[in-house]
């Protein structure tokens, strides 16, 4: 069953007639089936972020369609978009996007509370999800009291608690050290394998990408190639590196000065 369908998707920044217009994405087509774990890779400026913003309906495409769970996103009105996103898409961000006004548990249950789910059901679901992700012991802590890896796992818990059709992850390991990154990717992997959760992850990190089952490579706004994992992760990792070296371009994200 197809969960996500992208057809003829293009995004142009600046006027189309203008010679200075930039084609961030050009005629992208792909589908994501139920239970898939898809990675999208590409060098800086390849259009990864643009693609994710369009999928999250934070931005509107210039041409083309996006269908999630059979609903064409372009046909939704503004308020409906927010509701649709809340019900059908779970998000995991590079910067975690947790509300530090709330505790860990409160962050996780936010989507359920907004949908006015019964408090007893909320309690049941939060303890189940927390157990799956191994964060039960930090539920009552404040966001700034836990490590960054724990913060990202909290964000993942929030993303899946509403049982969305698809989880969109934007560089989920970008702000993490390698140990935490490993933990977070294992979490994604087990969620996908054990609970059949559909995941679309954008990353520039080959290590993170090696956890995926399939990878789309983007270059200059177009799909460059596609890779499917057949053997072990080690081998897949090597394959990814090979494709990247063929593609060229820089994979170093711009250095961020963190004071």
């Amino acid at each position: 069953m197809t969960v996500l369908k992208v057809q003829g998707l293009s995004k142009v920044y600046g006027s189309e007639k203008n010679s200075a217009a930039t084609w961030a994405l050009e005629n992208i087509n792909f589908e994501v089936d139920q239970g898939e774990f898809l990675g999208v890779m590409g060098p800086s400026g390849s259009g990864k972020t643009t693609l994710l913003n369009l999928l999250a309906s934070l931005d509107k495409p210039t041409t083309g369609h996006i269908e999630i769970a059979g609903v064409d996103l372009s046909k939704l009105k503004d308020e409906e978009t927010a509701m649709f996103r809340r019900k059908n898409i779970g998000f995991v961000f590079q910067d975690f996007n947790l509300l530090y006004t709330l505790s860990v548990k409160e962050n996780i249950i936010l989507p359920l509370a907004l949908d006015e789910v019964r408090p007893s059901d909320i309690e049941k679901r939060v303890s189940q999800v927390a157990e799956n992700l191994g964060i039960t012991h930090i539920l009552d802590k404040r966001v700034f009291e836990i490590s960054q890896g724990e913060q990202q796992r909290t964000a993942i818990a929030r993303a899946i608690i509403n049982r969305p059709k698809v989880v969109l992850a934007d560089e989920p390991t970008g702000n993490l050290d390698s140990k935490s990154a490993n933990g977070v990717m294992k979490t994604f992997s087990s969620l996908n394998e054990e609970y059949g959760i559909t995941i679309l992850m954008v990353t520039h990190d080959p290590f993170a990408a090696s956890f995926c089952k399939r990878i789309l490579f983007l270059k200059d706004g177009e799909i460059f190639s596609e890779l499917r994992r057949s053997d072990g992760r080690q081998k897949f990792f090597q394959q990814v590196i090979d494709v990247l070296s063929v593609m060229g371009g820089t994979f170093d994200e711009p250095y961020q000065l963190n004071l």
């Binding site: 308020e79 530090y100 006004t101 509370a113 907004l114």
Partner: protein, 669 residues
């Protein structure tokens, strides 16, 4: 680039942040200066009377509150200002600016802005004072009790006081910078604030402070007021602060425990936001609650004192218009006068409740038998009955010749209740000396109604036939004409009364008669209002200044967190919280900010007014009058000012909310 040019470039680059800080500083300077100009104005003098002392204490209390308010306000806005620039300082320090240089920069900046604020504040204050005086004179229709003048003392005090204040606050900020690591400073904006600790002891302490303060205020009277007023203000201020910082945390906690409420829709977000900001809010909320109380108390005092004034005038002047004319007017002349008076009032929209022009006699040498020689006019029963019916006076007797009913409040103890014809004591006999012989009446009843104002507040109602006989024998100077009018909206009657005074005196002069007494309640009332206009001015002024001050303070409070809120609401948006829902969360927060201190302020002011009423009632003269406004109607008179103030507050709320939402929205695009 040296430090001076760095400061200059900084100011230019960050002008929005500077402007906000500058405006709030100018604002507090203006308030203080305006107030000082009033208090130190050469025309403002206080006598030794009790009410003047009360006003002086009130002013002192207001000034203390303004000083405290200014201090916190300036401190608050400057620390918010420094905090909002944490990233900039962090960047400067990584570029190699030493802590000393940073401190010097922050200090110099604060002092420069402070001095500019003082200059602008003095200018603005002078302008506002001028406008205020003109506006009030127009509004109250009295001459301004003080002339517009620039008061040098006020300028000096404001300048010195605020220079010190700005330097002091700058030092506090610099000190805070030295203690904390600069890197900390740059993280300050991201660092999450610890949720406030809740202590039962402090919570109970808040409630205790409020109860003690309220109890003391409720039981205050004239003897204790001077002793209690300042401690009560102090206790209530402290209680208010802990109420907002502690009890509110306790309250939010209890909501958090109630999952049914807490997990429902936007409550989770709203409570989270509130809990996060409670400590910052507490300071502002408690100051605004106090200010609300001050404003409402000022307006309430004003309202009660003017209502008391109305009632006191009604007590002193039983009739709205009372005229005594010496000379015999023919019946058609009496009718003509009554008609012309009635039409005069009607043309000015003044409603006549009762009105009569009565012929009377007052024999010279009339004697009230108690070693006192009080002249009391005689009027006939049939004339009096007409008036009595209009004015609703309880007159039922049918007097016999030789008997009389005394009209007027009986000033010596209980009035005699003896029925006519059943009289024992000579004490109630009135003797009149005629040119030939003497005539006596036995007073068989008195009714507690005043036909006329002083000094002829009594009259004797006698048998109509006997009155006709007496009119025959009376000498030319024994004749009187009594005019008595009661008006329902007498406070608006001053124009018509003045016209009547002119036309009547011309008419009477033509007849060669004399007006013995012309008294109107409204002229007495206006004289008193004029003499007390200074107090009225002050009360309205305090109310106005504080109300605006409070509104802007809450406005600034809301906007201080704009940047932080922006990123948090952006996070919410990414999670699929719709703009409508974010709007709801913001509206709830803003509503709490604007209306919670208002509600507490109302409660405070009720107790403050009770103290005021207690003080007034302990004045023996006022107590004897038993003014109903001071007892039963006090809080009813509060309803109007509270409603007006609520409306003002709602306007501030709507403006701030809209501005805030617009700012939030603009960041999205």
């Amino acid at each position: 680039m040296n430090l001076t040019s760095l400061i200059y470039k900084n100011m230019k680059g960050l002008r929005y942040k500077y402007v906000t800080f500058l405006l709030s500083s100018v604002f507090s300077v203006t308030i203080f200066y305006l107030f000082a100009s009033f208090v130190m104005h050469p025309n403002v003098e206080f006598g030794p009377s009790v009410s003047d002392t009360g006003v002086q204490i009130g002013l002192l209390a207001c000034e203390i509150i303004i000083v405290i308010f200014s201090f916190f306000f300036v401190w608050y806005s400057s620390s918010a200002f420094i905090k909002s620039r944490a990233n900039e300082f962090g960047l400067l320090s990584t570029l190699g600016a030493s802590r000393r240089q940073l401190s010097k920069m922050i200090f110099t900046e604060s002092v420069i802005i402070g001095e500019i604020a003082i200059g602008l504040g003095l200018l603005l204050g002078t302008l506002l004072l001028r406008m205020f005086l003109s506006a009030m004179s127009l509004l109250l229709q009295v001459d301004s009790p003080i002339e517009f003048a620039i008061v040098p003392e006020a300028i000096v005090y404001t300048f010195i006081g605020y220079s010190l204040l700005f330097i002091f606050v700058a030092l506090i900020n610099v000190r805070g910078l030295k203690k904390g690591q600069i890197v900390d400073l740059s993280r300050q904006s991201q660092k999450a604030k610890k949720p406030p600790a809740f202590s039962w002891i402090l919570g109970l302490f808040a409630l205790l402070c409020l109860s003690v303060g309220y109890y003391l205020a409720w039981t205050t009277d004239g003897r204790t007021v001077l002793l209690r007023i300042l401690p009560v203000i102090g206790i209530v201020c402290v209680g208010t602060y802990f109420l907002f910082s502690q009890v509110s945390v306790g309250f939010l906690r209890s909501i958090r425990k109630n999952k049914g409420v807490y997990y429902r829709g936007l409550n989770l977000l709203t409570v989270g936001e509130l809990g996060f900001k409670v400590q910052d809010n507490a300071r502002v909320l408690s100051i605004t609650a106090i200010l609300t109380a001050v404003v409402l108390t000022a307006i309430g005092t004003l309202n009660i004192s003017s209502q008391t004034l109305v009632e006191m005038r009604e007590f002193d002047y039983p009739q709205a218009l009372s005229v005594t004319i010496e000379g015999k007017l023919e019946p058609h002349e009496l009718d003509k006068i009554e008609l012309s008076l009635r039409s005069e009032f009607q043309s000015d929209g003044v409603h006549v409740q009762s009105g009569a022009v009565l012929p009377g006699i007052m024999f010279r040498g009339a004697v009230w038998d108690w070693d006192m020689n009080v002249p009391i006019p005689l009027i006939s029963e049939e004339d009096f009955k007409v008036w009595a019916e209009q004015s609703g006076a309880p007159y039922v007797e049918d007097v016999l010749p030789g008997e009389a009913v005394m009209v007027g409040s009986y000033p010596w103890g209980d009035p005699p209740h003896t029925l006519c014809g059943d009289l024992q004591s000579r004490a109630f006999e009135v003797d009149y000396e005629l040119d030939e012989g003497e005539i006596s009446f036995v007073v068989c009843q008195s009714i507690d109604v005043n036909l006329l104002n002083d000094p002829y507040s009594w009259a004797m109602v006698i048998d109509s036939t006997q009155m006709r006989d007496l009119l025959e024998v009376a000498g030319p100077r024994d004749y009187l004409t009594l005019i008595s009018f009661e008006l329902s909206n007498w406070t608006e009657s001053s124009k018509s009364v003045e016209k009547i005074r002119a036309s009547l005196s011309a008419q009477i002069e033509d007849l060669d008669f004399k007006i013995l007494d012309f008294s109107s309640r409204v002229s007495a009332y206006q004289e008193t209002i004029q003499s007390r206009s200074l107090m009225l001015f002050l009360a309205v002024f305090v109310a106005l200044v504080f109300s605006v001050g409070m509104g802007s303070m809450l406005h600034f409070r809301l906007f201080t967190d704009l940047e932080e809120d922006r990123s948090r609401f952006a996070s919410m948006k990414r999670l699929g919280v719709s703009w409508g829902e974010i709007k709801t969360v913001i509206t709830r927060q803003a509503a709490l900010l604007f209306f919670a201190p208002f509600a507490l302020g109302v409660v405070h002011s009720v107790f403050a007014l009770k103290a005021l009423v207690g003080t007034l009632l302990s004045d023996p003269i006022i107590a004897e009058m038993g003014l109903p406004v001071l007892t039963s109607k006090t809080f009813r008179y509060m309803a109007v000012p509270i409603a007006i103030f609520l409306a003002l507050q709602t306007i501030y709320f709507l403006i701030s909310r809209k501005a805030y939402l617009d700012a939030m929205r603009s960041s999205e695009a």
